[in-house]
Amino acid sequence: MKYYDAIVIGGGLQGTSTAYFLAKKGLRVALLERDDIASGTASHTDGATLISDKQPGIDVLQGYHSVELYRKLVKEFSYDIEFESCGFMYVCETDQEMEAAADYAAKVSAQGFDMRVIDQKEMCERERYLAKDLKGGLWTESDGLVNPYKVCLGFVEEGRKYGLDVYTHHEVTGIRLNKKNQVEAVITDRETFLTDKVVNACGVWAPAIGNMVGLDIPIEPRKGILLVTEKSETIAHTEVLEFGYWLAKFFADFKRPVSELVERHNVCLNIETTHSGNTIVGGCRLFRGYDIKVEYEIMQAIAERAIRFFPILKDMNCIRSFGGIRPFCLDHLPIVSGVEEVPGFYIAAGHEGDGVALAPITGLLISQMITGEKTEFDATELAWSRFKNVDRKKLAAHGN
């Protein structure tokens, strides 16, 4: 039987990043993925790498560290992950949104990060196709974009240079613990691997892996749908979100002046033009189980909302749509942590709508926890122990 210093389960964003950083530190590492690399949420997502779109505090802090890491990684990688530092814009439709946005920006800047209010004029200079009747917005210069599945393939290819072993089409079916409840082996549908350190990086499927060692991991799938345009000139020069997207993420009862259709499906604009010249337009946040089917009505609502902000889209073609599921964690923070009651078991999951942005920092933190180094910053707030002896219902903050 093969022995590894550490085994990472899940070939998505968190798993490939974790495997890469562990291999780089000189450990003998295996990455196990039940399908192909990036076949989970990693290939059903946008690619925004933001410090924005997070809550002030540890959430913004980890976003900052992760975006900076992306900047370093692209210099080291020979594999192109299509990183672009294009900046990020929130756009506000009403004065009420503008007020909430200014308050949010003040909190983020107070933390020392760059996010500022911009007026309608600056907004339209940066985005020439934006509707002219908006109130203004927020601007974060350091934010950007990557190609999410290329990030996974990049971590794998670069990790292999440090000796990383990759086993695709290996589904983990069990984890063996010894009498002291410590990790001893990982069992797949094809082989058993010996190890005393295992990382659960299975995104929305992390609860099933948790069950294998008796843990109840509070992650649920939160669905999104995206539309893809034909190739064209650049429609969005930066990454753009309506500020209502942020409000809708954290405040379930927030109301916007929108049609019944848009309201019912919780549709908020997000838009980016990718490296390939296609523009990706979204989106929505819905609890619909593991189903990623695209509902026609939601496509309709997204198109309506998109034209509201980018009228030019009206005559452009949609060539494809797809759905994806975000690993939503009960209190909106990912779990990046060891598990005291199961020594050798680590969790790197629950990143909801930020798992692309946060992949580098998550991988680095877990690798530091496993080797026993000091972590990049104090990550106590991301610890598994936050769910111990608390009423989970009270932690829950979810709406639609």
Binding site: I37, S39, Y296, A303, K314, C318
Partner: protein, 94 residues
Amino acid sequence: MDSKFDDDMLVCRCEEVTVGEIKEAIAQGARDVVGVKRRTRAGMGLCQGRTCEKMVQQILCQELGISPEEAGCSSIRPPARPITFGTLAGGMKE
């Protein structure tokens, strides 16, 4: 092995992907049509693989010695053919 596919031959015209690039993707671990698509963009263009999917399948079968069923096909997602955002927003089905 005698190959009927020349490396320079264009497979996906929309995204300009050659046989050589598809073989490279297979060497990197792609095992089916979707795996090739993610690594090369073959099938991601305007025609959504309607023209090239069969050929990508054949290259996979030849390189990996698998059946067309195993090489699979791309997942079908709406719209069935390009449709403008305006038409979509108006609630008209293609």
